[in-house]
Subunit: 201 residues, 2 copies
């Protein structure tokens, strides 16, 4: 098999995570999500909530204050910001997991972190705003912020983070092998197409 | 069938045209290419060579001199540049062809020209530079310019033209339903995937 690893980026609410899980199931390979958070938590001392939230978001003021008030990491960040430290460790965890064998990794700039490997299929899932707004309300419930605002905020954070740490544009056609609009193709069909490429490879 | 029309954009040398032809054949629907050039030639008086070359390229000085020296179009351009006039007529031809029924149209900003229709599948095909360089030398032969330079020049012209007339980024993930890298997925497999989406729709 040519494709050992699926690195899947996605717009918030596009169903990318669901697609990634389906592919992992169909291919019989591990889907890493919580494992990454747990490993990074172990190596950084940061809380899992913080890693989950900041692992794909740009650095902001709040993380600094968090970092300096965290008693778990005295002096181990070597002058780096909390965000940079998190990036370095998360990058190492992803590189190590990829070495372990076939797997699926969602987001976290894994497509760029693993770009020197030739067995990594780079996929990006996006969808219309309407599809995503309906989906996040159905899955995560209503919140004070309007769904459209939640989508825009989350996407903006991922875009800035991705650009900052990889130098590339988030969701760029030319750095991915497949970009799919799940709102017109369908979540199941997207998974099926990715599996078909991975098996065909 | 939800998808009546395939509007397929592509990087030079990516095999996009071949993929589009295969899809048209498989779907049993017309593939418009020469027809567009012929219709535009008929309505503008421009030569087919000129339309073929300029239909997807930005305006430059040479086209102006060409336009003003062309005895076939006295005074019908209404003060427009040759490029704008070509755009207006080519746009109309594409809108008319789409009205006629299911079809495949390659390039020419058809994805954006037809964006108000909900039965148009918007696909973009790209490929690695190496794949494309080898392909254009095999298909079109050597030339004085290095293949890499030919690719870069042609892509730049298409990008500038697309941006100028549609306001969008050429090959943008977010304005397409499928973006595929033919150099890793394979030309035949790309066609197969597009057909599968069109039939599934």
């Amino acid at each position: 098999m040519k494709w050992n690893i699926l690195a899947l980026g996605r717009q918030f609410g596009s169903g990318g995570r669901t697609i990634a899980k389906k592919v992992a199931e169909e291919m019989g390979i591990p889907y890493y999500d919580k494992e990454i958070v747990e490993k990074v938590a172990l190596e950084t001392g940061f809380s899992q909530d913080y890693i989950e939230q900041m692992g794909e978001h740009a650095r902001g003021k709040s993380e600094w204050s968090y970092a300096f008030s965290n008693p778990g990491v005295p002096g181990i960040m070597g002058g780096m910001s909390a965000s940079d430290f998190l990036w370095v460790i998360q990058r190492k965890v992803i590189l190590d997991l990829a070495e372990k064998g076939p797997c699926v990794i969602v987001g976290r700039c894994a497509d760029q972190i693993l770009k020197d490997r030739d067995d990594v299929l780079r996929v990006f899932i996006h969808a219309s705003d309407q599809f995503r707004a309906e989906r996040i309300v159905r899955l995560y419930g209503e919140s004070e912020k309007k769904p459209e605002k939640r989508l825009a905020d989350k996407d903006a954070k991922r875009r800035v983070h991705y650009k900052h740490y990889t130098g590339e544009e988030w969701g760029d056609t030319f750095t991915h092998h497949l970009c799919l609009d799940s709102s017109v193709i369908g979540v199941d069909k997207c998974a099926e197409m990715i599996v078909s490429v991975m098996k065909n490879g």
